[in-house]
């Protein structure tokens, strides 16, 4: 019962973070801050959901697979964000340091 409640808290928390990340993607002005929104929340979102699912599954083969996915995401998600930002930087895109009137990326 407690495990059930705990897992639902984790799942809902993960979902909430996902939504926040999505809003951030639209809200922020330029590539880098958008990426910040997507990258950070997404990593945690996926992890919370995986933990929640693992609690639901109990101790089984499924949990092991979930753990593998967890480790995989732990490595790839931040690296992907890094690669994206790196590519944008090399592509010549400068971070926008002040908020313009439109709030949109030029």
């Amino acid at each position: 019962m407690i495990i059930d409640i705990l897992s639902w808290i984790l799942l809902l928390g993960g979902g909430l973070l996902g939504i926040i990340g999505g809003i951030g993607m639209h809200w922020f002005p330029d590539v880098y801050s958008r990426q910040h929104a997507a990258g950070t929340t997404d990593t945690l979102c996926a992890m919370l959901i995986l933990l929640g699912l693992a609690l639901q599954a109990g101790f089984s083969l499924v949990t092991f697979k979930l753990a593998l996915i967890f480790i995989f995401l732990l490595f790839t998600n931040p690296t992907a964000s890094h690669a994206l930002a790196n590519a944008a930087m090399q592509g010549g895109l400068r971070p926008q340091l002040e908020r313009t009137a439109g709030g949109d990326n030029p």
């Binding site: 995989f72 490595f75 790839t76 690296t79 890094h82 690669a83 790196n86 590519a87 090399q90």
Partner: protein, 327 residues
């Protein structure tokens, strides 16, 4: 009930993505959306219990196709689609509406979605469900139908992949006539330490996973095709991080070409061996002491052929695309 709910949500997501693909003009965004479209379709396949299909669609649609499309827009240096005003839109639109109407008319008689009594479920399919496990000794019915009952289709499928490889080499394999294609993104990027370290950590894992998919395909979702795609993805990742020259040092293109041919030859060869042993083409039962053992061996061998051919061909295609932009 929950499945219907997920089904409807996914379908609406897919529909929105498709319309967005149609309406957008930025090609890069369209390709990304297409990747999303593929992933959503793969999820939907999984919800509809087609796990093997979901696996393949995720690997192909969201993986290989997307990579190739990105390579194409990098090579053609085209970011935006030009939408001309002069185009007459009523003709395509009316063709599409008529076609769609005919199709909807055709579905009115179809049995309801998920009906276990539908003709599709009651004629040929029950045989596979009842007998496949016993006759081939594999729990995954998709694998046994794929590699044994309809093994000839799968041979055709491998040949289609091989044909694509030959075709891409014919088109892009030669010397370039135009030299101003510029420097390639893949060559130019000097990747940071983080990427190199993480890639070195990930690539062996991906290769292990590919092998798992290859040999576990009899018991779970997966098989030669998916394994080939994943294995080639590992090398593609290597190419992206360490550069084309390094990748070609690891696997020279000439070896890849031989591997591609070898994969097809293994598959056709197994069939020829079965003829020589007195069976029909691709009748694996004659390969082993017992029928089931023969089936098992045959399926293992042809899946291996599929894996090798798909891996080599997809990699050849990718490297040919990537090499086209080399200065």
């Amino acid at each position: 009930m929950i499945e219907v709910f997920i089904d409807i949500i996914l379908l609406s997501f897919i529909a929105v993505t498709a319309v967005a693909i149609l309406r957008m003009t930025n090609l890069f965004a369209i390709i990304m959306l297409f990747g999303i479209f593929s992933f959503l379709s793969a999820s939907l396949f999984a919800v509809m219990d087609a796990v093997d299909v979901a696996f393949t669609e995720a690997a192909v649609g969201a993986g290989i196709s997307t990579v190739l499309m990105l390579a194409t827009i990098a090579l053609t240096k085209t970011q935006k689609e030009k939408v001309s005003v002069s185009h007459r839109h009523w003709l395509p639109l009316s063709v599409v509406i008529v076609t769609g109407a005919v199709l909807v008319y055709g579905t009115l008689d179809l049995p309801a979605f998920g009906d276990p009594e539908a003709p599709a479920q009651t004629h040929v399919a029950p045989y596979y469900i009842d007998k496949a496990v016993e006759e081939t000794g594999l729990p995954n019915m998709v694998t046994s139908v794929l590699a044994s009952y309809r093994g000839f289709d799968t041979l055709g499928e491998v040949v289609v992949v091989f044909t694509a490889g030959v075709a891409v080499l014919l088109l892009l394999g030669g010397k370039h006539r135009i030299s101003d294609t510029g420097t390639n993104e893949i060559e130019k990027n000097e990747h940071s330490l983080i990427l190199r370290v993480v890639a070195k950590f990930l690539i062996p894992l991906i290769i292990v996973f590919a092998l798992y998919v290859q040999f576990h395909g009899d018991f779970g979702p997966g098989g030669g095709f998916q394994a080939g795609v994943i294995l080639s993805a590992a090398i593609i990742l290597y190419t992206l991080v360490f550069g084309l020259d390094a990748a070609e040092r690891v696997i020279p293109p000439s070896i890849l070409r031989i591997l591609a041919s070898l994969g097809v030859l293994i598959y056709t060869g197994v069939g020829i061996v079965t003829i020589l042993l007195g069976g029909n083409y691709l009748n694996y039962s004659v390969l082993g002491d017992s029928k089931v053992a023969g089936q098992h061996l045959g399926i293992l061998l042809v899946e291996l052929g599929v894996g090798i051919a798909v891996f080599a061909v997809l990699l050849v295609i990718f490297l040919t695309f990537a090499g086209r932009g080399r200065p």
